[in-house]
Symmetry: C2
Amino acid sequence: MQLHKRDVVAKAAAILDNYGIADLTMRRLARELDVTPGALYWHFANKQELLGAVADQLLAPACAEPAPMSWQARIETVCRGLRDALLSHTDGAELVSASFAAGQSQAVEQILGGLAEAAGEAGVAAAHTELAARTVLYYVLGFTADEQSRMQWDAAGAALPDTRSALTDDPGTRFGFGLQVLVDGIAARRTSPV
Amino acid sequence: MQLHKRDVVAKAAAILDNYGIADLTMRRLARELDVTPGALYWHFANKQELLGAVADQLLAPACAEPAPMSWQARIETVCRGLRDALLSHTDGAELVSASFAAGQSQAVEQILGGLAEAAGEAGVAAAHTELAARTVLYYVLGFTADEQSRMQWDAAGAALPDTRSALTDDPGTRFGFGLQVLVDGIAARRTSPV
DNA sequence: ACCTGAACACCGTTCAAGT
DNA sequence: ACCTGAACACCGTTCAAGT
């Protein structure tokens, strides 16, 4: 039967989850779909475009507009949602970072828009809201890519020492620290009254 | 004559500068050094280790300990030095990000140490200085990788519109905005008097 | 000790030709 | 319109064998 874009994206996501981004190749994807590599190029211009489609599917849950709330809560909600989405698939942060860098993720642009809006509500000058949004995004992508690569290293390595304290070792708490830094920093950049 | 590590790293840096990271392959590097690809594996365990050595050479100018100054100035100095080093070679930010993610850059760890020290001077609790340092690093790497990939896009594309205002378009100024957000955010995280 | 030769197991992409 | 077959131009890594 016919190959559809959505089947290709779904199989790509499955490979990502089961084997990681290094094994997500056009040839392997074609093999698992029982087609020739060339067939994929009828549906996607190139590998980057295909990866962008996978990234956007992965980010769909993080694109929902949140209910009205304070700008601080909105930034926190968007960032936690983004991190959760990235963590939901193996190498999700790496995939999304690459797609963003290649300008192939419409979903990231949307998330960036939401963050910029929140920065505007915080009182950041209109000319700087986009900068504030990008600053936050770089943090979320950097932190989560790091977190996810450590998870893989840990999974293959020794057991964790049980001297864990939530304040320094729980990834969610660690993530929150940087988030708080950024929220406080944005508050300090306000140029207009709220 | 004999192949030395430093010759390999120097030639790799030259390929990076002239053709970009996509063309920095083990086979091409070997060809330009007039050796067989296998020869490189006598000197380096794998490609990641070699790229780590290139990253560390590139970052050497950013590793100098700065003169005594306020913690704010120190963070700014370290970050500007890091960005300058990344911009000094084509795809420098991408190379360093990859080497850092692979745990192959001793220089990045050193820079991270300097940032953590500055956070400590700012009054951030000892348990959190490393988190603060990473937050800053993710920003510098993310911003600069983005900046550098746009440079390549612009170089191939149309001329820039001349409606440029330094406040929103000069990359150095744009970089400073996020830096200020982080510095102010760290100041807000102080738990002990300075 | 240091390097070659040759192989192994792959890549992304293109495109004439088929159905 | 959609896909195959086959090619093009590559990859990283290993390792017996040479010097």
